[in-house]
């Protein structure tokens, strides 16, 4: 922690950056912090409650932040993949962001819960993490904590759905998606949703109806998840933002797994790796094509 605070103080006082985006202790648990003065650097913390993916604040749609100037951002390995994704897709310039990567031993599913990391409380996204020691960074901080327990809730759920009939799966998603109110919070919170104009807002033609009807909800989520294929870093900001608590992370995980299985691609920390839909291989599997 001290190491992080000292570094932030230094970066701010020598003018390397104008703002350090990190975590602080808020009135109700850990929240994102925007440190603009060296003397505020003591506020910075990092612990298992730091669930938020701060890379989302680098998204160029966030004009209130881009206008602050040059940014340093505290990331976990998983978040660093979002930064890499934004660099890969030319949303962020590598030279314009100072990446302060934290070695990570997993985070909680629900920030603010007074508990240790257990198989029940650790975030599902930490399962099988290969980025506990981040690879994309300007500064890497902390000691590598031990590997967290594995929360299998989501993989179990996906496996259970796979076992169902198509009709059962349809009904499951109808149930879940019928709650959607089309507020698009999932999109706004997502680090990788950076389109200047979202398909959902295109009106000529109106590809996706704007109302929260079952048909429009399904079209919207199908489209959103497809657009995130190969982009999604599984940070679950969409799920955290959803006021209706729809298990959006499950869709995202399923598609990410499909992309990995089919194209051997994982949204990784290497910005130079080509996005899976920008390239192809003549030997791509086509078992589903007649």
């Amino acid at each position: 922690m001290k190491q992080l605070q000292d570094l932030a103080r230094k970066l701010l006082s020598d003018g390397t950056v104008n703002v350090v985006i990190g975590y602080e202790s808020g009135p109700r648990g850990i929240r994102p912090a925007f440190i603009t003065a060296p003397e505020q650097a003591d506020k910075l913390v990092f612990n298992i409650h730091c669930v938020q993916n701060l890379a989302t604040y680098l998204n160029p749609r966030r004009k209130q932040i881009t206008q602050l100037g040059k940014v340093a951002v505290v990331v976990k390995g998983c978040d660093a993949r979002a930064v890499a994704g934004m660099i890969r897709e030319k949303q962020v310039e590598r030279g314009n962001v100072v990446i302060l990567a934290m070695r990570c031993g997993g985070v909680l599913e629900n920030s603010g819960t007074d508990t240790d990391l257990t198989a029940d409380t650790v975030s599902v996204r930490c399962a099988g993490c290969t980025d506990r020691e981040p690879k994309l960074f300007d500064h890497i901080l902390g000691e590598l904590p031990p590997e967290p327990p594995v929360n299998t809730r989501r993989t179990d759920q996906i496996a259970a759905l796979e076992k169902m009939t198509a009709a059962e799966r349809w009904n499951y998603w109808t149930d879940q998606l019928s709650r959607c109110i089309r507020c698009h919070a999932c999109r706004e919170a997502c680090p990788m949703c950076f389109c200047v104009k979202c398909t959902a807002e295109k009106t000529q033609p109106q590809w996706i109806d704007p109302s929260a009807t079952p048909r429009a909800n399904r079209a919207w989520q199908t489209m959103r998840v497809l657009h995130q294929a190969g982009r999604c870093v599984d940070c679950l900001e969409c799920e955290r933002a959803c006021p209706e608590h729809i298990p959006l992370g499950m869709l995202a995980r399923y598609v990410a797994d499909a992309v990995e299985k089919r194209f051997d691609y994982v949204a990784c920390e290497d910005p130079s790796q080509a996005a899976p839909f920008g390239v192809f291989s003549p030997s791509d599997d086509e078992e589903f094509i007649r």
Partner: protein, 153 residues
């Protein structure tokens, strides 16, 4: 989806299938099937596009929303694309769409992907007839068209 609405399937219902085909191979192949007088189910409506890579997943969703019971997406065999690599890219997108539709509970037989070359009139006939037959088995697909009951409550 559990759409075997018995009352509807018994008598008059006949599936609507929408086909998105590429201009260069499948459309010509379908033309060949026609001029060869091959017998095909009349349930398929064809929309011609420049290339199978023009097919946006939203086309397929929209087709279902507006009442299609099945969709065919067809283009040149890989390696034969008029634009060299269009269908290679399309194939990647279709693969993920195919997987996601499966996960979200759309029966695989609702969406048929097929490569049909200009000389494969017979294959087009097969694709049309088999798709129609499978969609007939599945029954009407109202799922994507459902309008009421959205939002919480």
């Amino acid at each position: 989806m559990s759409s075997k609405v018995v009352e509807e399937t018994v008598s008059s219902w006949s599936p609507k299938v929408l086909a998105f085909v590429c201009n260069w191979c499948t459309y010509t192949g379908a033309d060949l099937a026609g001029t060869s007088r091959l017998k095909m189910d009349p349930n398929v409506r064809v929309i011609k596009l420049p290339c199978s890579s023009r097919v946006n997943p939203l086309f397929i969703i929209k087709a279902f929303e507006r009442g299609a019971d099945g969709v065919i997406v067809s283009g040149c065999h890989t390696g034969d694309c008029h634009y060299s690599t269009g269908n290679f890219h399309a194939r990647r997108r279709f693969a993920i769409l195919h997987d996601l539709l499966h996960f979200m509970g759309v029966e695989a037989d609702r969406v048929t992907f097929a490569w049909v070359s200009a000389s494969e009139g017979n294959k087009w006939q097969q694709v049309v007839n088999e798709t129609t037959e499978r969609v007939k088995q599945l029954g009407p697909f109202g799922g994507f068209g459902k309008r009421e009951g959205g939002g919480p409550q």
